[in-house]
């Protein structure tokens, strides 16, 4: 299932500190015009990241989530990975070994999949004196 929605891959600078983050954040916000943006941050060149860089990532995630999109991280260097783990931010993002894998992950999960999954889940949770659950099991 292909969504057809474009995935934007953004290369992060090698030093993600306060000054770089200040320059980079407006660039990201500028491309967040479309509904449900799909963004991949390419970390392959990131050698240094500090608390300002982490804050920038969180701001981007917040903005993307508010537009009902998703932000994924790809090709993390060990340095970036350690800082994200240290600051407990790693658990907020989906991470991929390569940019291609991250892009592909957007492709494989279309709007119809979302609807089907959601409706199934909703049926299972219906408060209906246990019949729904039994029916599903029987079916």
């Amino acid at each position: 299932m292909k969504t057809g929605r474009p995935v934007l891959v953004m290369q992060l600078p090698s030093r993600l500190n306060l000054s770089e983050a200040r320059e980079f954040l407006p660039e990201v916000i500028a491309v967040l015009r479309s509904d449900r943006p799909h963004i991949v941050f390419d970390f392959s060149e990131v050698q240094q990241i500090d608390s300002a860089g982490v804050e920038m990532l969180l701001k981007c995630l917040e903005r993307v989530m508010s537009l009902d999109g998703d932000l994924k991280l790809a090709a993390l260097t060990p340095q970036a990975s350690v800082i994200l783990e240290l600051t407990r931010v790693d658990r907020l993002f989906e991470m991929f070994a390569t940019v291609d894998a991250a892009v592909e992950s957007f492709r494989g999960f279309g709007p119809r999949d979302v609807t089907e999954t959601a409706s199934t889940w909703y049926t299972a949770q219906l408060p209906s004196n246990g019949r729904a659950g039994r029916d599903r099991l029987a079916g």
Binding site: D50, P78, I83, E85, R88
Partner: protein
Amino acid sequence: MKTAAILVLGSPAPAYSFLASDNGQASGCSGDIAGIPLSCIEILGASILQRTMQRFADAGVDLFTILADASLLKVVKLANVMPGWLVKVNSFQGDADVWPAIERSLQIDFANEINNVFLIKLGAYAEFDPNAVLQFAQNNHDQAAVRVHDTLGSVGIWLFKQSANLEAAAKEFQNQGQDSAMKTYFFDGYVNRLSRMQDLRRFVMDVFQSRCSAYPQGNELRPGVWIDDGAQVHKQARIVPPAYIGKNTRVGPASLITRSSSIERDCNVDYGTVVEDSCVLAGTYIGTGLDVTHSVVCGNMLIHLNQNLVMEINDEILIGPNVTSRLRGVFRRHDKKAVAKHKDEHPTHWKGFYENR
């Protein structure tokens, strides 16, 4: 019978060469702990140097000579050598000068009517009985030179008497072949060769799990939790045994110290931070709400043991030298003596810092 010990600290290794990985960025290390031998780093309240000296002092060694590279003299002087021991500190310049310096010290000791001299190439932590080595030498027709080995080989310890052949010993000391006349004393006690940072962490685990006879400093306030003098642990902080909190260290509210972690002296673990399976070395600040796992942290250096990675984090919001908290706490009464002492002990922490700020 008089016995002396000569402890040799080699020339400083290139920064973090003891980390067994190519990923370690040696060039990016700060001067704080870069190049300091692991045996001089304080762990669980005492360095391996101190623990080794304590072992020999307990066995009746009267006189210690510490031979260190000139660049390490300050480190040795800060090593907090216990009072009551007679300790001489001499220096040498570079690797070529090591054996001549040892030979001079041996000759001085023999001239002072000391019969037995232990030579210890510091590096490994070995739990053996020096008196057993002396007895072994005596039982073998008063052997002039004895080397100490465990099952894996040399642990860097020799015993010399006045009649020893020092030329052959020099070759053996410099790893250029074995002295055939020298007898080998084998022991099967605990040995940690401390060649990598992972070994330092393993030493902490071994102490906590009583695999060796070393113990943390301070008081065991409850089973498995050692708290040293002056440490402040917030009542909302949780410390899961086994754990060690060093002198004058502050553990903030909602923080968690777990899975055999040790926090050395003068550290500050801030609000909500988790320290898990890690060692925080002396004088380190750990920021708010962090997860420090499988690491050794010192100042602004983070050494991730699972990923074999050395990182310098130039962001004091995350980790860094614990200067500001000390200024807030210890120095807030404008105690000039304490400031001067701290400056002397941690010169690098004061780089670019103005007193009048």
